[in-house]
């Protein structure tokens, strides 16, 4: 036996790799080539000043990423940092001990202070920081100026939900499809119900719901929000066959100039035209955006933002160079470059001014002005309840369920998944 051990030890030491360089693996879902190019720049910049460290970017498509992540995070292919939307999924990940507490490390050189506080908060659990934000992408109501003009609609005058309904009806009267939405993916539809809940309940109201006061989700105001969405869906305002269209297909239809409105995040400015039939979409002068309308008598304000605040969570066994690299990668210089190309709204303070595109610039200004940024609810509510909300919204749209039952089902799922 001893002899066997000796032989194994010898073999092992022969076969063992030489001390390797430190590899920082970043797992992302970014498909836009311009963004990836600038990230590579940051990687090269860091590698040249830090020999012995290699930065590796790994890509997974959105849905594949969501499905594969649990297995990846618990295998030896664990990335050093990975994309996150924050919210309920992040809570689950943090609670299972996968993530590293970087409060002190990030606070050390003032790294955490370079970000918008509300964006940074999205990656905190019980006061401890587990990741860093990348960008803030609010959801706004985009419109096609030309089509709106044809229908006799002035989007800048839409202030309340009733105005929006009237605009939809006007579009239909003019033979224009009012709204593009990706019903198969379901999350584009859930923007409506989430925003309506925000507009009806307001910040404090939503907080009370999360804290199970007044019946949680099964309260009359949530039902009212769902009813308002139902009223919209009953008008059949979406493109034909919307329940079978994915987000890329739906946004392609919008940028082909086929519908007047699309409720979508600010990422659509870059991703949308790429999905149009000619890969360019209609001219940008023709594009505009307005806030999601308020609800008369509701407590929410027009500039309360529903947004996707994406960022990077750091894993438990990540090398220290990960945060070091993030100082460069998520630093002002690189992020300003990204902003200047209008690729997204970085979560780093002071980069908004570099944004060239006036539409995106205005959105960035609202991000710094707003009192309330709510994270997209299909992420905030967790992997299970989030998808339940998505399913319910699609069912409300198709008429398969009613507002009371939907609110009740949502509350049941929420209770079941309480952290």
């Amino acid at each position: 036996m001893k002899k066997l051990n000796l032989v194994c030890a010898l073999l092992g030491s022969l076969l063992a790799p030489l001390p390797a360089e430190t590899v920082v693996k970043i797992l992302h879902i970014q498909s836009i080539p311009q963004i990836r190019a600038i990230w590579q720049e940051a990687a090269q910049q860091y590698e040249s000043s830090h020999p012995g460290v290699r930065i590796e970017f790994d890509y997974l498509e959105n849905e594949a990423f969501k499905s594969k992540l649990p297995t990846l995070l618990q295998s030896k292919d664990q990335p050093s940092a990975f994309h996150s939307w924050g919210g309920g999924v992040m809570y689950e990940q943090v609670n299972s001990g996968i993530c590293k507490d970087i409060t002190s490390k990030a606070g050390a050189d003032g790294l955490s202070d370079t970000f918008y506080p509300s964006a940074l908060r999205n990656f905190m659990v019980e006061g401890k920081l587990y990741g860093l934000p990348n960008d803030a992408a609010p959801i706004v109501l985009w419109y096609n100026k030309e089509l709106c003009q044809k229908a006799g609609v002035d989007p800048t005058k839409i202030q309340y939900w009733d105005d929006f309904i009237a605009a939809v009806k006007k579009c239909q009267a003019a033979g224009i499809t009012p709204i593009a939405a990706g019903g198969k993916d379901e999350w584009p539809l859930h923007f409506y119900t989430a925003l309506l809940m925000m507009r009806v309940l307001g910040k404090d109201g939503m907080q009370a719901v999360y804290e199970d006061k007044s019946g949680g989700f099964a309260n009359p105001e949530v039902i009212k929000a769902f009813q308002l969405f139902r009223d919209l869906a009953d008008l059949q305002p979406f493109q034909k066959g919307y329940l079978a269209n994915t987000f890329p297909e739906a946004t392609g239809i919008f940028h082909d100039g086929k519908t007047a409105f699309q409720l979508m995040g600010s990422w659509d400015l870059v991703e949308g035209p790429q999905n149009a039939a000619d890969k360019k979409g209609f001219p940008i002068e023709n594009l505009g955006w307005i806030f999601f309308p308020e609800v008369k008598g509701g407590k929410g304000k027009a500039n309360d933002l529903l947004a996707s605040v994406d960022g990077w969570l750091v894993t438990k066994d990540a090398p220290n160079e990960t945060i070091d690299f993030m100082k460069v990668w998520l630093g002002k210089e690189i992020q300003t470059k990204l902003a200047a190309q209008n690729l997204f709204i970085p979560a780093v303070k002071g980069t908004a001014d570099a944004i060239q595109n006036p539409l995106l610039k205005r959105i960035a200004q609202e991000v710094s002005n707003t009192q309330w940024i709510e994270i997209a609810m299909d992420q905030l509510l967790g992997p299970d309840t989030g998808r339940v909300l998505n399913d319910l919204t699609a069912d409300l749209a198709s008429g398969k369920t009613n507002p009371e039952k939907a609110a009740k089902d949502l509350e049941t799922s929420w209770q079941r998944n309480k952290m």
């Binding site: 995070l73 999924v89 689950e92 992997p383 299970d384 699609a394 198709s398």
Partner: protein, 343 residues
Amino acid sequence: MSSPEHPLLPDKESRPPAGLFKAGQPVEAEVLVHQLGSAAGSRVSVWHRLKNFSHAGRLTTLVLFLPPALLLFTLFVALPVLEAAYYSFFNWNGYGAPTKSAGLENFVRVWSDPVFHNSLLNNLWVILVSALIQIPLALSLALLISDRSRSSLVFRAIFFLPYILGEVVAGLIWRYLYDGNYGLVATVYHWFGLEAPEVLATVGWAETALLLVVVWKYFGFHMALFIAGRQGVSEDVLESAKIDGASRWQTTRHIVLPLMRPVVVLSLFFSILGSLQLFDLIIPLTGGGPSNSTNSAVSYLYNFGIRRMRVGFGSAVGVSLFVICVFVMLFYKRLFMQERATR
């Protein structure tokens, strides 16, 4: 043990019968052989006998090949099933180890979920369509092109093509075909000046669309089985039937089909098995929607278990599906695959 006459001679009881060996010939070799062959009769163990038996190679083969097969089966079949059964009693999100015990709650939730019932129903629909539409279709085609002419060979290749396609590819292809704006279905409707229906977005239509794709994808496989079966029917039988004056239809109905019964039974077995596993076609085609109407049991497991990070719940679905499969297979075997020993 050896006799006093000669050290190698066995004692009287196990001595070869007299006259076995010719007198005068060297006796030692035969004695040795006989000794080895039945060394002192029953006094040496069976193992000893087997080991030295001339069929020694068979045992070696068994010992060499059985453990790897058993290992693979245990690792990839038995162990996962047992693990799934274990996980199904927990409320687990897939991270770390399961800690929140849930008792039978997952099973209760699975079986009381109307979406699960609908998924099982969809599985049943696929089985029925396979049995009542796909197999008769495959059978009739097989009977038409089971000869060896060139045109038959060409058609066989064509009909088999859908089966060769990857399932995800097939799902995607049909997704575009069914598209109500740009797809083939839409084009056909537009020829007639009509609005094309949104097949994959409408609840009733989507299920029918899925069944159509299933039939299209797998009928080639069954057709190939039936062609092989048909070619196994002895020509002599058919010739004698012809001589007896049987018409083509009579020959087919009374001779060919009964002789092909085992192949049809096997084919139905495969299609039931396949439809219980249906998943790869559904995800690219409809994703289980619209409104969760086109889920199968497995896609339900994926959508409601894995995607929602409820691994315990998904495991409960998996275990339920496993039990259903076992029962179906046992029942099927009993009903159709009994050995016809009494005939």
